[in-house]
């Protein structure tokens, strides 16, 4: 049996800054909480193909698992937690601007 589809967001790195970005319904955001959560597998696949064509904006596009929450999607894996926040040894990256 195939695994049931779990909620996802589309994520990548910005071409110019390298910063982690997430797709919204209309473009890209630097904050996971503002990302659009995709719950339908066919829709997610199509959106991914579309995101992959946006090479002038982003690099390394993929689907990442999230847990939908009242405050927006949250990461379910620790790698995505670090991407959403920044490194743990200095308050650099996204946590710097929060």
């Amino acid at each position: 049996m195939p695994k049931p589809f779990t909620p996802k967001v589309i994520t990548a790195n910005a071409l110019l800054e390298g910063d982690v970005v997430y797709q919204t319904a209309t473009g890209w955001t630097r904050h996971l909480a503002e990302a659009e959560v995709l719950t339908d597998e066919a829709d997610a696949d199509l959106r991914l193909i579309d995101a992959l064509t946006q090479q002038d904006l982003v690099v390394g596009v993929y689907l990442a698992d999230v847990a939908p929450d009242a405050g927006g999607p949250r990461p379910t894996h620790f790698r995505e937690e670090f991407r959403a926040k920044g490194p743990s040894n200095y308050a650099h990256g996204k946590q710097e601007t929060v």
Partner: protein, 558 residues
């Protein structure tokens, strides 16, 4: 220090201009990422977890003060005010923006530095003993040979698309401080019948399938060295497995075909190409050797040093751990620890880089070295200058007296930065160092090398740590495996896995049990951790690591 020729300057300027145009074409959309990626990697530019990362080569770990000052300037101008020194004698900038990278490369070129072949399936930055040219136990300074290999391998037309990356390390001493047996090719300069030549070791490497290198030739004369290296890499280029990335390094080629078969192939290739080497390389080597002539060592009274050593316990503790024997009378090799307790191993701020550059200018014949253990070395300091130097280091928070001790930990960037990592390394290193500082035990514990990698690729050299720690992702949770008994010296040994891994919360207490256990197991304080492990084997160490399992075994036996 090697001085660039007109050719070198022109080559670097052209290369940087090419890359500037490539970056522009990527930004204006003329190049896709698939087209651009190999080009940026050839110039040391990676895309990591949070940002781009620029990896700059520090050839054989040698810098002068102007170069160190420029690394500081680059850190402040285009990064976040610091740099990370790596186990391959490189420096990495973690936060550059794509548009700025061509300017960073031009700034590097101003001081004869570059990022060429710090990535890709090419011959990478040639590393060397960080005590080169200063060590008391040296047959010859390995850096002229390392520089010759750099020139031969840079932009070598046949070796730009090898089956996989290729790393060469060189030492000129019997004591191996350059981990040459864990490199694709390791060279040790030796003397035979009054002639200098090299012992050539191939097929070492860590990573997914760790191997200790094997001796291919026990003596290759100076004039036969480049043709021999060319023959080895040619054989590998054809024979290396391109079908499977995980079997593509030369260690697997040597392992699968056997050292005798490889030797026969290299001999045949050597016979074919030897006549192409007409001796020009030896003329170049003579010129390079002149560039690396030893500085004019001075003589001075040791009174100030002896007085500080007798009267200042902080200075004495630092001198006892951070100095090594120099070949010139009255001199010492100074290791500056980039491992302050709780700090990120290998990181230096721009201010710290400037302090070290300044000290090299004032007291160190303008020379600095980066060690594969992520520290900075001032190779030539007269002992009479040490009290003043130590005071300046203290002020810059660079006087940690822990070289070779438990808090002098190698750690890769791990999942805090690296896109390949499966777990974090830096916080584990920070916690271990902080914990043993609290316990005030590290000088009592003595020589002990902990090495941490955040994934199986082993940039943190965990296989050759006396205690190795490997961070993995086990079902979505960070998990840390311990290996024991590894050794990266001339007695190179791979560590053995102890058993099940530990969670991020449990790994530091586990290391503490292990080290306290060692204090109980050793014969006397002169027996090091590694010696005790070699005498007793893993069993008593496993018993302290896994007390529940040991308890159960006792109950079952009763």
């Amino acid at each position: 220090m090697y001085s660039y020729t007109e050719f070198d300057d022109k080559f670097l300027a052209e290369r940087n201009a090419q890359f500037r145009a490539q970056v522009e074409r990527r930004i204006d959309g003329s190049l896709t990422e698939d087209e651009f990626k190999p080009l940026r990697l050839m110039n040391g530019l990676y895309l990591q977890l949070h940002a781009y990362m620029l990896r700059v080569a520090i050839p054989y770990g040698t810098l002068n003060s102007a170069q160190m000052d420029q690394l500081a300037y680059i850190a402040e101008r285009w990064d976040k005010g610091y740099g990370h020194f790596t186990t391959r004698q490189n420096i990495q900038y973690n936060w550059p923006e794509l548009r700025d990278v061509p300017d960073m490369l031009d700034a590097l070129a101003e001081v004869k530095l570059h990022a060429i072949q710090t990535s890709g399936n090419t011959i990478r930055n040639v590393t060397a003993d960080h005590f080169a040219g200063a060590a008391a136990d040296e047959v010859a300074d390995p850096r002229p040979v390392a520089e010759l290999i750099r020139q031969w391998s840079t932009d070598h037309p046949e070796f730009q698309f090898l089956p996989r990356k290729f790393k060469v390390a060189v030492t000129g001493a019997a004591a191996d401080r350059a981990v040459i047996k864990a490199h694709d090719i390791g060279l040790r300069i030796v003397e035979r019948d009054g002639q200098q030549g090299s012992e050539v070791i191939v097929g070492g490497g860590l990573g997914r399938t760790p191997m200790i290198g094997k001796v291919l030739y026990d003596f290759v004369s100076a004039e036969d060295l480049l043709p021999t290296l060319e023959a080895i890499v040619s054989v590998y280029n054809v024979l290396g497995r391109r079908d499977n990335k995980y079997k593509a390094r030369i260690k697997i080629t040597v392992h699968e075909n056997g050292i005798e078969d490889i030797r026969a192939r290299v001999d045949a290739q050597y016979a074919l190409i030897r006549s192409q080497f007409t001796g020009v390389d030896q003329q170049m080597l003579s010129r390079i050797e002149a560039d690396f002539a030893a500085p004019e060592f001075k003589t001075a009274s040791l009174a100030a040093y002896e007085s500080a050593y007798t009267n200042d316990p902080v200075f004495r503790a630092w001198a006892d751990t951070n100095l090594a024997q120099h070949r010139a009378p009255g001199y010492a090799i100074v290791s500056i620890s980039l491992k302050a307790h709780g700090a990120t191993p290998g990181d230096a701020t721009a201010d710290q880089m400037r302090v070290m550059a300044d000290l090299a200018r004032r007291f160190g014949h303008d020379e600095l070295r980066i060690s594969h253990e992520q520290n900075v070395i001032l190779p030539h300091v007269h002992r009479s200058d040490l009290p003043e130097l130590h005071a300046a280091l203290k002020e810059a928070k660079l006087a940690t007296a822990n070289i070779g001790l438990i808090s002098d930990i190698i750690a890769c960037p791990g999942m805090d930065y690296c896109a390949l990592a499966t777990a974090r390394s830096i916080p584990i290193a920070q916690e271990i160092a902080t914990r043993f500082d609290e316990l005030k035990l590290e000088h009592d514990v003595g020589p002990l090398k902990i090495k941490i990698s955040g994934c199986i690729n082993a940039c943190g050299h965990h296989h050759v740590g006396h205690i190795g720690i490997l961070g993995l992702d086990r079902a979505g949770v960070e998990n840390y495996q311990i290996t024991l008994g590894g050794d990266g010296t001339e007695d190179a040994t791979l560590g053995t896995r102890t058993g099940p891994g530990f969670s991020a919360d449990a790994i530091v207490p586990a290391i503490e049990r292990l080290v306290l256990g060692y204090l109980n197991l050793r014969n006397d304080p002169s027996e090091t951790f590694l010696q005790t492990y070699r005498r007793l084997g893993p069993a008593p160490f496993k018993a302290v690591l896994y007390p529940e399992a040991a308890e159960k075994d006792r109950a079952d036996a009763a």
